[in-house]
Symmetry: C3
Subunit: 259 residues, 3 copies
């Protein structure tokens, strides 16, 4: 280990953990085995809002340089981040969480398993994000419906939804199972499961079973053509969610009749 | 104090100042009493455009990790920042300035008292921002009306205006006293005092006295329901501005007749 | 040189190079003469996708604090960056490249000579950017036309194009020679050479020869009024590109007849 780190003797650090130069590890931290934390990070930034709970980083995680993680969050096995991410207190994430460079997770948020955030996603306080959700660069969550106020209407994203680049999610909106939100949209009302929306305000343009790229020969939902971007350990859970997506499509088609 | 800092012997540092690990304090710096500067910061980045003036940080300030403050700016008492903020030369701010994580203040800007910037606000050179202004995440100032050129038309925001998330402010626009700009708007012309605008281009949808959240039982202006988010020291100044907001409403109503 | 740096003995570092405190220089790095690298940087971040190639920084470059450059990229003479930039592997840039604070260049990109990126530009993988291109704050490149997929349709920007603040460039779009894209636009199809577009979707509002600011007495293309913002070394190349811009205008006018 480098001689240029500052590691609290109270931090609990697993076996085979690499810690980069000029990184600070604070007191209330638990790091699993086989983790790699790059240089210039702040791990376990003390915060009274964490009410004494530690930061827990699951085994097999990689944290890139200039990241800041607050005390009081729990990240599952196989976390992988870009550079300069900020994860505040009381964030809970499942397995295989990926956070792109310069993302800002403001805390009190819950993420399911195998969630992927591209660069510069801003997740407002209180967000609820399901399993296998994709958030593309600069997706922006909000939560105050009458700013500035003490109100907080959290955004919720259901399993396997995909939110493309630069989308603004207004306070309290729900994005349903397997839904797709096109790049640059502003989501001002709920997006129903297996529907695809775009624009400001975001409006339905198709459903997932009819969302096809003829040019490239691809069909939604994405695990049809993108399964190999996940480790095999993720596939059983992926199949379970895809099953629910297809059931939602079948139910929608049955209600919609021949349309 | 930590042994991992690099502090210039020429910097003037008050009593009871904490400085985090791996932070650099340059020569032309004055830090008031009772400040806390976290790790990995650059305080007083040398810059010829500061023409020899120091960086002045008021007493009772908190600067979070990975921040960069240039020489030549003056920040009032009780500054509080998030992580990774950048404040360039010749920025002047009053009391109680709050800057969210990853904000980028490009310099030559003036901020009144009790201004709050959420995360990732980008303030272009020359901006003028009044007292008790709120700027939500990713508000973006511009200043060049014919890019690229040597022209600089500064944006100006009057007291107690609220600019919601993701708003783009075009060069030279003025946002009036107590005005409200909705999330995702593009402000392409001036916003009159006590008016509420939204969209691209931003257009008036109501006035402040009729801007009400029936669902949540809240009315504008925001100090009616959000006064407690400020210390008592801010209340007299807040009352003075609110008085001017009500006077502007009364004047507008009187001109508008019974409408 | 400061005693608080961590410099690999394998790095090849030119003469008269300044390296700031708490900066890490990795193994596979070549830094030209007369460079200045500020504090808290990571230079030559190791990465298998660089396939063993070094990071090459041209002579006379300045890299501001908290930057991260990956192994495997080549930046020409006179690079100048803001703070907190990220440049990933296999990026190639010509002379006089300027990168604003918090830009994120995701790699496998090619930039011509004298390109300028303002703050927080996000350049997706595979982008092709010509000479004398201007990208204003928060320009956002995308590349996946059916997210998430394995497809990558790179954005290409031709010489002397100007993309104003907050523009979203959809996968695979081409922006032609000398074209102008107005602030806040979403570019969903190709922009022809010497045309000016704005809006979502971005549509033509004029051509470059008719793009005039009567108020300020300025005309496009910008080297008419902004030549002095570049060093004289850039002028011959600038003249060559301007010559092609005028030829494209003449050809367009000739095709358009008297219109």
């Amino acid at each position: 280990m480098s001689s240029f780190t500052k590691i609290s003797p109270r931090a609990r650090i697993g076996r085979n953990v690499e810690i980069g130069d000029f990184t600070v590890i604070h007191d209330d931290v638990e790091i699993g085995d086989d983790c790699k934390i790059d240089s210039h990070c702040v791990i376990g930034h003390p915060n009274p809002m964490a009410r004494g709970r530690p930061l827990v980083i699951g085994p097999g995680s990689t944290i890139r340089s200039h990241a800041v993680f607050y005390q009081g969050s729990t990240l599952g096995e196989g976390l992988a981040t870009g550079h300069g991410v900020l994860v505040r207190e009381n964030t809970v994430a499942g397995r295989g969480f990926r956070i792109g460079s310069n993302c800002d997770i403001e805390g009190d948020a819950v993420f399911g398993d195998w969630v992927r955030l591209h660069s510069e996603v801003h997740v407002g306080k209180g967000a609820r994000v399901g399993h296998f959700v994709w958030l593309y660069p600069r997706v922006q969550f909000t939560n105050d419906p009458f700013p500035p106020s003490h109100l907080c209407l959290e955004v919720a994203i259901d399993d396997m939804a995909v939110i493309a680049t630069g989308v603004l999610l207004m306070p309290g909106v729900r994005v349903g199972l397997g839904a797709f939100v096109g790049a640059g949209s502003v989501v001002r009302s709920d997006v129903p499961a297996i529907h695809c929306v775009t624009g400001d305000p975001a409006r339905v343009f198709t459903t997932l079973d009819r969302f096809v790229s003829f040019e490239h020969g691809l069909k939604a939902p994405w695990p049809r053509h993108f399964r190999d971007a996940y480790p095999e350990a993720a596939w059983p859970a992926m199949d379970e969610v895809v099953g629910r997506v297809y059931a939602a499509i079948a139910e929608y088609r049955s209600r919609a009749g021949g349309k």
